[in-house]
Symmetry: C2
Subunit: 348 residues, 2 copies
């Protein structure tokens, strides 16, 4: 099969490798219908130390089950499934508490042992917990926009949803989303789903913020840094935002979030932090502000979101603005890195 | 009247100054029945740059109203009242949201303009919002233990309560309290009030942790640092604590908290942070842990706690382990600083 590997900064290659095989009785083998490139894939695209064996890439995928191990109970060959971006048993104590990304038996794709999902085929560990069947659906019979939206349940839309959920978005709360990438836009849509009437989107790429407005953003703030803080404070009558969703992961975005969060408010982070130390001592403390968030346990939210996507009442797949073949995936990375593309669908 | 002033590290003096007078029509003048020294008073006791005009000290007090301004509606001379440690109108938008320590018209005691409460008399700004009347009570008719417990509603007990509230302590959650000072012990008591069946208290002063056990701690961990983390992890079956209440304010206590918080858990801080930067980037993020807390809006909790104290069903005043006169307050600071006293009542 063909699969994607990264060898260093900017060096993404598609290679032919042996097809994956069942290793554990809880595994499944899935044939990819659609995969995609994630904003978080761009971090190693900048910083991966050059290496001689490629790192397997990709963690978002919808596909069709080809084969299941002897202990897999809920899936059969032919099932159309969504793979969550991390694998988990969905039965351990942390899974039961709704934090499946901390599953005691789970993990992340992209190790030599567990490959990546930007590939024609994938071995999915703990398949009963890690794959969610799309009921009664045949991918060949679904429109591409529905398929694209189903793929967002693998990561990006439900990462935005997690941000809103951890930020306790609810009717009456003012929400500000920092970042107009695919996760930020997903957070706008999710905040509206959770009842927010007012969603301020901070971003300066007009094509992206335009989609944010279609997703439900009520105001767009293009300014950044102190000017951006001043503008949000002005929009909120000097009070600040109840919820700030930080969908970037860089320190300036966190500082901006700290500047606009209201006393007693919540900063919910879903961009993987590219920092370790943060100035959260007195600055957050004196206004009783909360810092929360982390890798989204999408498994906790997927069943609730699925009917909305199938019914077309939400259309989170609109974050994809182009489609390329697996052979062209290096171009997808380059275009996303250059911000020419928002998020690229990969159709093997 | 006599009042307390700090002139530099270790330099606390009681001086005779003019009696306070009404300045605003919303002020009240209150005669102190009991005041006390706070753990947070010890920070300037170590670090206040020497000065020629003393800084007025104290922010905890129960007393009797002597005089009210023309606009005060809910209080009359003779009322027995509890002063919250910060003053607030209790009507602004942040007060209504339950974060009175961020009141847009409020502030903190101890400025030259607004004196301190370790004094015989005090001017209380925004009296309707800043004083809570103890219904039908005559301080002369109440036992000293009840008076002491009422005084804890000014700050220390409700600061512990705020920590538990922000940490979303509830039945079924494991709570760990880091720090065996008066706030930590109060947090143990409050956690039990909020339904926690299991409360692990981290502290190494046996007389204090003994009181913690009487307040409801189910386990005591005397080890600190990595050994303390290992012990709590062992006690929780390797899972960590749902809620960690950080009642110290120093970096080692935060690091300890980060080591024992469970995936998806909450670290709730109520010790004033003596740091600005903290290592909360990836370390908190990857386990979806939340950092929350701040100065307690005790005004939000006081009415609910008051009947429990008057009925004697909780006895938070047990954190006071000695009583001194106002003239002896320098000794109270010294004894608390030397950890000879846990918390000292001041009876003018």
């Amino acid at each position: 099969m063909k699969a994607t590997f990264m060898y260093g900064p900017g060096d993404v290659r598609v290679e032919t490798v042996p097809d994956p095989v069942l290793r554990e009785p809880t595994d499944a083998i899935v044939r990819t219908v659609l995969a995609c490139v994630c904003g978080s894939d761009l971090h190693p695209y900048h910083s991966l130390p050059p290496r001689t064996s490629g790192r397997p890439m990709g963690h978002e995928m919808i596909g069709v089950v080809e084969e299941v191990g002897a202990d897999v109970r809920t899936l059969s060959p032919g099932d159309f499934v969504i793979a969550t971006f991390a694998y988990q048993d969905n039965t351990c104590v942390f899974c039961r508490e709704g934090f499946q990304t901390s599953c005691v038996h789970g993990g992340f794709y992209g190790s030599p042992d567990v490959g990546g999902l930007q590939a024609e085929l994938a071995r999915i560990p703990l398949a009963d917990g890690s794959l969610v069947k799309v009921p009664d659906a045949d991918p060949a019979a679904l429109e591409e926009r529905t398929l694209a939206s189903l793929l967002t349940l693998s990561d990006v839309y439900l990462t935005g949803y997690h941000a809103a959920h951890m930020g306790r978005v609810a009717p009456g709360r003012t929400v500000t989303v920092v970042g107009d990438g695919a996760v930020g836009l997903s957070a706008v849509l999710a905040s509206r789903q959770l009842g927010a009437e007012r969603v301020i989107l901070m971003g300066r790429h007009k094509d992206r913020t335009d989609l944010g407005v279609e997703f439900g953003a009520t105001e767009v703030v293009a300014e950044r840094g102190d000017d951006g803080i001043a503008r949000v404070m002005e929009l909120t009558g000097g009070e600040g935002s109840h919820v700030v969703i930080e969908a970037v992961g860089l320190m300036p975005a966190l500082e901006q979030s700290m500047g606009i969060v209201r006393p007693g408010g919540i900063i919910s982070r879903v961009g993987v932090p590219q920092y370790d130390q943060a100035p959260v001592g007195r600055a957050l403390f004196y206004k009783n502000a909360t810092l929360t968030g982390g890798p989204a346990p999408v498994r906790a939210y997927i069943e609730e979101a699925l009917p909305h996507v199938l019914a077309g009442s939400i259309d989170p797949g609109r974050v994809f603005d182009r489609t390329l073949g697996l052979d062209e995936i290096a171009r997808a990375y380059a275009e996303m890195d250059a911000r020419e593309a928002l998020k690229v669908l990969i159709a093997p």
